[in-house]
C-alpha cells in the first residue's frame, strides 16, 4: 500500500491507506442492511484486545490519484443483497472522493455472511402487533 501525496505551495498532504480504510469502513456500515464488517480472526483478536478496529474488513490499494477498495461485509437477514451492495459501492465512493480527493476506480463487495440474531426479535414484534390488530 502506498500513501497518497499531494504537493501544495505550503507543503505536502499525505493520506495514508489506513485513513482511506477507515473512511470506507464507516461509509459501508452506515448503509441500511449492513450488519457489520467481516475482519476475520485477526481483526477479531485485535478488537478483543481492546483496540477499536475501524478498518476491519477493508482492503485498500492507494495510488497517487486513484484507489481501489475491497469490502468484506456481513448483511442483515432479509435484505436484498445486490441492492445493499450497490448502495455501499456508491456511498463508499462518494465518501472517499469527498474526503480525500482520490478517484475511486473500484469498490468490490464481498458478502461474507448473514446476521440472523437481530432478525428474530423483529419477527416477534411484528407477530405481536398483528395479534393486537386482530
Amino acid at each position: 500500500m502506498i500513501a497518497s501525496d499531494e504537493r501544495t505551495d505550503m507543503g505536502t498532504v499525505r493520506i495514508v491507506p489506513e485513513v482511506v480504510s477507515i473512511i470506507a469502513g464507516l461509509a459501508a456500515i452506515e448503509v441500511n442492511g449492513v450488519a457489520g464488517m467481516s475482519g476475520g480472526l485477526a481483526g477479531g483478536i485485535v478488537e478483543m484486545l481492546g483496540k477499536k478496529n475501524l478498518s476491519k474488513g477493508v482492503k485498500v490499494e492507494v495510488g497517487e490519484k486513484e484507489c481501489e477498495v475491497d469490502l468484506f461485509i456481513v448483511v442483515e437477514y432479509g435484505v436484498e443483497i445486490p441492492a445493499v451492495a450497490l448502495e455501499i459501492q456508491e456511498n463508499v465512493k462518494r465518501a472517499i472522493e469527498t474526503m480525500t480527493g482520490l478517484n475511486v476506480v473500484q469498490v468490490n463487495i464481498h458478502v461474507q455472511g448473514v446476521n440472523f440474531r437481530s432478525a428474530a426479535p423483529v419477527y416477534e414484534e411484528k407477530e405481536s402487533e398483528d395479534l393486537r390488530i386482530r
Binding site: 480472526l41 443483497i81 459501492q89 463487495i109 464481498h110 455472511g113
Partner: protein, 180 residues
C-alpha cells in the same frame, strides 16, 4: 478465510496440540498403556487426573481449531454482479446460511441436515438433505421446497439456482413446535 487467520489458527492449534501431548506425557504410561485398568489406577494419584483431563481438553480444542481451518479453507464465492464500480461477490458459506434459514422456516421440514453447493460455469447447484415432519406428502413437499428455495435465493441474492435437488433423509418421530 484470510491467510493471516489461517496462520493464527494453525499456530494456535499446533500450540494447543503440543500442550495436549505434554499434558498426556505427564501421566506415567500415557494413554498408550496396554492395561487400561492400570492406567486408571495411575490417574487416581493426586494431580495426574487433572493433567489427564487438561490433556484431553487441549486435544479436543486443537482438533476443533484444525476443523475450523479445514472447514473455512475453501473461500469459494460467486460473482453476483459486475457493476461499473466493481464486483459484488457472495461467499458460498453465505448462500449455505441462507439455504439453511429458508428450510428452517418451511413448515413441513424439521431441519436441513446437509447442504451441498456446487458451482459450475452453468450456474449454482444446490443439494439439500432434509429431515421432514410426519404426515407430509413427500413429492409435494419436495417440489414446494425446490420452488421456495429458488424463489428465496432469487429475491435475496439475485441468483436462480440451475438445479435444486432435495433428498429426504429422515422423518421426524414426533411433530415438534418450531420456534421462529
Amino acid at each position: 478465510m484470510a491467510l493471516i487467520d489461517k496462520i493464527v489458527l494453525a499456530i494456535g492449534g499446533t500450540l494447543i496440540l503440543l500442550l495436549a501431548l505434554v499434558s498426556l506425557a505427564i501421566v506415567p504410561g500415557g494413554v498408550f498403556v496396554d492395561n487400561v485398568i492400570a492406567f486408571f489406577d495411575y490417574l487416581k494419584v493426586e494431580g495426574q487426573l487433572e493433567a489427564a483431563i487438561s490433556g484431553v481438553l487441549f486435544l479436543l480444542i486443537s482438533l476443533a481449531l484444525f476443523r475450523i481451518i479445514i472447514k473455512h479453507s475453501n473461500g469459494a464465492h460467486i460473482v453476483l454482479k459486475e457493476t461499473s464500480l466493481g464486483d459484488i461477490r457472495i461467499s458460498l458459506s453465505t448462500i449455505h446460511q441462507l439455504t439453511e434459514e429458508a428450510m428452517r422456516h418451511f413448515n413441513d421440514v424439521q431441519e436441513a441436515t446437509k447442504i451441498k453447493l456446487n458451482t459450475s460455469p452453468d450456474g449454482l447447484e444446490v443439494d439439500v438433505t432434509l429431515r421432514v415432519l410426519p404426515d407430509s406428502c413427500l413429492p409435494d413437499l419436495c417440489e414446494e421446497a425446490q420452488m421456495r428455495l429458488k424463489d428465496y435465493l432469487n429475491s435475496t441474492v439475485g441468483i436462480i439456482p440451475k438445479r435444486v435437488r432435495i433428498y429426504v433423509q429422515d422423518v421426524a418421530k414426533e411433530k415438534t413446535l418450531k420456534v421462529e
